[in-house]
Amino acid sequence: MTGLGRAELAQRIARDIPEGSYVNLGIGAPTLVANHLPAGLEIILHTENGLLGMGPAPEPGLVDPDLINAGKQPVTALPGAAYFHHADSFGMMRGGHLDVCVLGAFQVSSSGDLANWSTGAPGAIPAVGGAMDLASGAKNVWVMTDLLTRDGASKLVAECSYPLTGVGCVSRVYTDRAIFDVTPDGFRVRELFGDTTLGELERLTALDLT
């Protein structure tokens, strides 16, 4: 294994978020980023179910069933927090007020298309939640994902084969092997992790990278 583990990747993403940013962390792996936000820096977390200024998980005895995140896990609210209803919350998102949103992905295309809500498998129960709103709303949509699926297929693709979440919405992809920016010329490698090489990435993704 070369590259970064989940926690290291979360830490790497956290480092790229400037102080004062308003950030939404998607369900799943992106949630880990919260654990690595630099202490002493104020970064304000948004959860689309109606809270700005979300804090960490509560002490075990102090779980408040009224205070949850988008993944329906118990959270806390920091001093300076504000509650609002769903239309206001998604207005905030759709209106471009969030600086960064970190999402998981099944696939990201070289033009920034995102597929992360459905594998399109027959018989699967569709469920989109706020994924499409997040993808279309934040100023910067970052993806956090392993480069490869368990079967070794690249999640970076020329064109998504899974149903889309958003078109041309992703600006950066953080993977265990490298960070990629989405540019008009496709994926550009921003940073390599471990002993990963550009050539290796091109082989794994079957894409021309720059």
Partner: protein
């Protein structure tokens, strides 16, 4: 005197008809009006269209309504959860229709109904299968799809406190869909922990003005709050929290 309070949950759901469209507040379990749903099951209305963010959790509340076979169609953003076995079973058996709406479009379409907007162009979902067949337009260089209001015959929501005029305040993220749903239904029914004296809610902090509310009923207060303060120690079913970690 205006008095929107009713004595018990059976009174709160009186007159709900078969075939109704019913909005049910809540995000997962938070803010889900479980007592009103129980009363609706008892009341018996069937062939319902339910508009709610999720499609039930565990075996209580919305899940129980689904299990009772009362729901013909679900309109929601996220039916599939780790504890949505009731819906999952119905769906796989072909016994329920499903319309998936992105969460923000769901909230905004409900708001549009309440605010008298005929339709609006949303950027969410453009180019995806959930926008298939919808009118699309480029405005200022950005692609949008046209979304229409979602109205209901009845909204069942849960708030924290209410007064006899129907003014409401919520608690934390249990607010979620309550305010927009209250505005979008012909009849809005609210369960609260406490009916307070008219004038005791700060008019600067009322979240849902009473104009949107038709019936208010007090239910057993949430057990993790005492005298307005969070005390913790129990889960959403009132069961003691295992404090082991």
């Amino acid at each position: 005197m205006i008095d929107k309070t009713v004595a018990g949950v059976p009174d709160a759901v009186v007159g709900i008809r078969d075939g109704s469209t019913i909005m049910i507040g809540g995000f997962g379990r938070a803010g889900q009006p479980v007592e009103l749903i129980d009363a609706l099951i008892e009341q018996g209305a069937t062939d319902l269209t339910i508009v709610s963010n999720n499609a039930g959790n565990g075996d209580r509340g919305l899940a129980a309504l689904l299990a009772a076979g009362r729901v013909r169609r679900m309109v929601c953003s996220f039916p599939r959860q780790h504890d949505s076995w009731v819906f999952d079973g119905l769906y796989r058996a072909g016994r329920i229709e499903l319309e998936i709406v992105p969460q923000g479009n769901l909230a905004e379409r409900i708001r549009a109904a309440g605010a008298g907007i005929g339709a609006f162009f949303s950027p969410t979902g453009v180019g995806t299968e959930l926008a298939a067949g919808k009118e699309e337009r480029v405005i200022d260089g950005r692609r949008y799809v046209l979304e229409y209001p979602i109205r209901a015959d009845v909204a069942l929501i849960s708030a924290y406190r209410g007064d006899r005029w129907g003014n409401l305040v919520y608690r934390e993220t249990a607010r979620n869909f309550g305010p927009v749903m209250a505005s979008a239904a012909v009849t809005t029914v609210v369960q609260v922990d406490e009916v307070v004296e008219l004038g005791s809610l700060d008019p600067e902090c009322v979240v849902t003005p009473g104009i949107f509310v038709d019936r208010v009923v007090a239910v057993t207060p949430r057990r993790w709050v005492r005298d307005g303060a969070f005390v913790g120690g129990v889960d959403i079913d009132g069961e003691p929290l295992a404090v082991t970690s």
